[in-house]
Subunit: 196 residues, 2 copies
């Protein structure tokens, strides 16, 4: 059964980027080990601890489609046409680019509910992963999120972009996480069990 | 060697209390198990999962003194005169209560640096634990914090009091945590390794 999973690397104080959208202090665990994890693109090969590599391989094998927002699409320049995970990407935006770049990979959808439906179609039996703080929040508020997968990084950033900044629901209950201990990261996978 | 450790129960989105200082959704793990952990007071006995009970017994045995702020002292009414951990408490405040209540337990000190010195004297070989978001931040800013011990609770509160809200340092590096998986909590113990 396909699940909708929010996934981000997050500092212990809840930030997913510094004030300038920088992620250097949060993504170090993807390159601090000896185990190579190839991606769908030549320009990105992970080198991780054994534990993170095993976790990442399993996570990558389970992903059927990604959802993101227009901001991340823009600052990554559409990942050059192919996302490292090699799956279709649904970009949630009311302002799609006029030229509809890389139409084989990117679908532009206006609303979060329609975007989840489209991503699930694209993912088939596999999971939909949301790589965007705002889209994850909107899905959580709309009751569309099944799980939250946190790559918790041992750093306090003090300022920046928070993952869960503007939840309209106060109190979202999660299950006990599965825990995988990497180097420079603790992988915590939670299911969303209830909201109030 | 005595360490200065900040310890709090924290939601996955970084809150240590709801907007009304409520902690019901964060302290459930202290009462959701079968293993009794007695405290120094009759009115508080923990009932925890086996993993959390073992963790708590070890943590309690290592604590020689507590540090907190005036706010927590006030809203708990000075824990009725004895803190559940049964150790001396240093309250950091520039406005000590005129009657100096329970002077055998509580010491009131004006500055965070002097408070850490006093708490270390009281703790002897044991550790100083800081149970206050503001005091922990001040110690971190002053370079006085050795470790951060997070009882990470699987809930998103969306609003409330954040543990690390006003750090003056941007970027505090931590070591890989030791991880203990409880029920309704994941215990993560980090050392503070560097600041910038």
């Amino acid at each position: 059964m396909s699940k909708v999973i929010a996934n981000m690397s997050m500092s212990l104080d809840g930030f997913i980027a510094d004030p300038d959208d920088g992620i250097d202090q949060l993504f170090g665990w993807m390159g601090n080990g000896d185990v190579e994890v190839p991606t769908a693109v030549d320009w990105a090969t992970f080198r991780m601890s054994p534990a993170s590599a095993a976790y990442m391989r399993e996570a990558m094998a389970g992903v059927g489609a990604l959802m993101t927002g227009r901001h991340l699409f823009d600052i990554t320049h559409g990942w050059g046409g192919t996302h490292p995970l090699g799956v279709p990407v649904v970009v949630v935006t009311h302002e799609p680019p006029a030229d509809r770049p890389h139409a084989d990979t990117f679908t532009f959808v206006g609303g979060v509910k329609e975007a989840v439906e489209r991503a699930k179609q694209l993912a088939g039996e596999k999971d939909v992963v949301i790589a965007s703080s705002k889209i994850a929040q909107q899905c959580l508020d709309a009751g569309l999120l099944d799980a939250i997968s946190v790559d918790l990084v041992p750093v306090l950033l003090g300022e920046g972009v928070r993952w869960f900044e503007n939840l309209s629901r106060t109190s979202v209950r999660l299950g006990n996480p599965t825990v995988i201990e990497g180097n420079g990261v603790t992988h915590l996978a939670y299911s969303v069990t209830g909201t109030s």
